[in-house]
């Protein structure tokens, strides 16, 4: 393994003040927008444009920020809406996995991640799609936890959520990448 990829690996999992602040901001934003857009506590079954924040934060700031944004953000959304942060903990994990997988994009989408702004925007959408499809598989744990049938979970939970969130992801993640890149360049650290 080359020194460069070792470096990248370390960066991906490094936890600094920056990681924690971005993670907390991502989670707070996701929680706020969940509640602002969707007054149905606990329900994950709807179109949630805010969901794009999860793959975006993962993709832009790494798997740890992504996981925290999805996991804590979903729990906070449940908490504020009154459902209780932990009641649907497996759904929070599913959300977290989406952010995590999107954050691993440098491992499976090097070409896009290291390309132009346009490439990075497209890469964000691809990573988001992969992350949503895989991450939400975790909701099949409702089979054990709630005794729901696999077919029920698939048709009433997985498919509607995944379809809704894929649309949000494909449209909004590239827009967010485009909006963020010039600002990032200005921060100049």
């Amino acid at each position: 393994m080359s020194a460069i990829s070792m470096d990248r690996r370390n960066n991906l999992w490094e936890v600094t003040s920056r990681t924690i602040v971005y993670a907390a901001i991502g989670a707070a934003l996701y929680g706020i927008l969940l509640v602002a857009q969707l007054p149905i506590p606990g329900s994950t079954v709807s179109v949630r444009p805010a969901f794009a924040i999860v793959p975006f934060f993962g993709y832009a700031f790494g798997p740890i920020v992504g996981f925290f944004t999805g996991f804590v953000g979903n729990a906070i959304g449940d908490q504020i809406s009154g459902w209780g942060a932990l009641t649907s903990w497996n759904w929070s994990i599913a959300n977290g996995l989406v952010g995590l997988i999107a954050g691993l994009a440098p491992l499976y989408l090097q070409r896009w991640v290291n390309g132009s702004t346009r490439d990075r925007a497209i890469g964000g959408a691809i990573a988001g799609v992969i992350a949503v499809l895989i991450g939400f598989l975790f909701v099949f744990t409702d089979n054990i936890l709630q005794g729901l049938d696999i077919a029920t979970i698939f048709s009433t939970l997985y498919v509607p959520v995944v379809v809704g969130d894929l649309i949000g992801t494909i449209i909004l993640v590239p827009i967010l990448v485009y909006a963020w890149e010039p600002v990032k360049a200005q921060l100049g650290r």
């Binding site: 936890v15 600094t16 003040s17 990681t19 924690i20 602040v21 971005y22 993670a23 907390a24 901001i25 989670a27 707070a28 934003l29 929680g31 706020i32 927008l33 509640v35 602002a36 857009q37 149905i40 506590p41 606990g42 329900s43 179109v47 444009p49 805010a50 794009a52 924040i53 975006f56 925290f68 804590v72 953000g73 906070i76 908490q79 504020i80 009154g82 459902w83 209780g84 942060a85 009641t87 054990i144 936890l145 709630q146 005794g147 729901l148 049938d149 077919a151 029920t152 048709s155 009433t156 809704g164 649309i167 449209i171 909004l172 827009i175 967010l176 909006a179 963020w180 600002v183 921060l187």
Partner: protein, 285 residues
């Protein structure tokens, strides 16, 4: 729009418990319920969860809406599960179900067993939700970080939870002013957009500025944390959490419940679906 956790149970008996108790109880209880399919026992668990819930003294008037939504949501899921899947669940007893009728269009057999299953699922879901509610209303928001820290979550992430609560009010105010700024430009974000795509596209004028400004504004907060030594060594937490006798009693009770449920599954029939005889009688005419 008020986006903030509502600490409605403040001062109640349950709110005076160590916050770790409320968190642990959710997990003990969920894993207890998981193992029980006998509706009579599930009903017992529901009673326990309601008693527990009552000790949080959450004013009913302020969370009536939350409960309505819970009932609708659970009812919807359980009904769909019954109609679509007709009870193809491993918990179903062996043998032929006693069919009451066939559901029109789908042709799903609705049996004494699948109805019992739906009712049991409903009660199980309800019991879990009831145990989970106090986490939302009877833990001080500022206690979450330290509670999770003491439950073994790494220090930086535990503090990240506190920081998330810290950002909620300021970011939701920023979000609100972005919504206002766009309203002035003739954009009413909350106006009913129906289609999938429209709704997503229409959210960009509020989501993009909110997200980008929040991230760009993070620099000072990051500096403020670095300048005060965040993450450079083992930290102390000002808030001291100690289990008292009542905390131990609550924990002991729910652990006992979990143990009993586990044994009941091995030794007895608590993990098997119970179908009331009268339903079978109806099916058999």
């Amino acid at each position: 729009m008020n986006i903030a956790p509502r600490y409605l149970g403040r001062g109640s008996w349950l709110a005076r418990r160590d916050p770790r108790v409320l968190i642990l109880v959710v997990f003990f209880f969920i894993f207890t319920v998981l193992q029980i399919w006998d509706a009579r026992l599930v009903f017992g668990l529901l009673i326990i969860s309601v008693i527990y819930y009552r000790t949080a003294a959450i004013p009913w008037a302020q969370i009536r809406r939350n409960w309505t939504v819970v009932f609708l949501f659970i009812g919807m899921l359980v009904t769909v599960n019954m109609l679509v899947a007709g009870g193809n669940v491993e918990a179903m007893p062996e043998g032929e179900p006693d069919v009451l009728f066939y559901f029109p269009l789908l042709g799903t057999p609705i049996s004494a067993q699948s109805v019992s299953l739906a009712v049991t699922q409903f009660l199980r879901y309800l019991a879990m939700a009831t145990i989970g509610f106090p986490v939302a209303f009877a833990i001080a928001p500022s206690d979450f970080g330290v509670a999770f820290r003491r439950l073994g979550v790494p220090e930086k992430f535990a503090f990240g939870i506190d920081l998330t609560f810290r950002f909620l009010p300021s970011l939701s105010a920023d979000f609100q002013s972005t919504v206002d700024a766009q309203r002035i430009r003739g954009f009413d974000w909350s106006a009913g957009a129906t289609g999938f795509l429209t709704r997503v596209r229409r959210s960009t004028p509020v989501i993009v500025p909110t997200v980008v400004n929040a991230i760009a504004g993070a620099e000072d907060t990051i500096d403020a944390m670095d300048l005060r030594g965040f993450g450079t060594g083992r930290r102390t937490w000002l808030r001291l959490l100690v289990y008292d006798r009542e905390d131990w009693l609550v924990l002991g009770f729910f652990v006992a419940l979990l143990v009993a449920a586990t044994l009941g599954g091995f030794l007895g029939t608590s993990d098997e679906l119970w179908t009331p005889q009268f339903l079978i009688d109806i099916a058999q005419g």
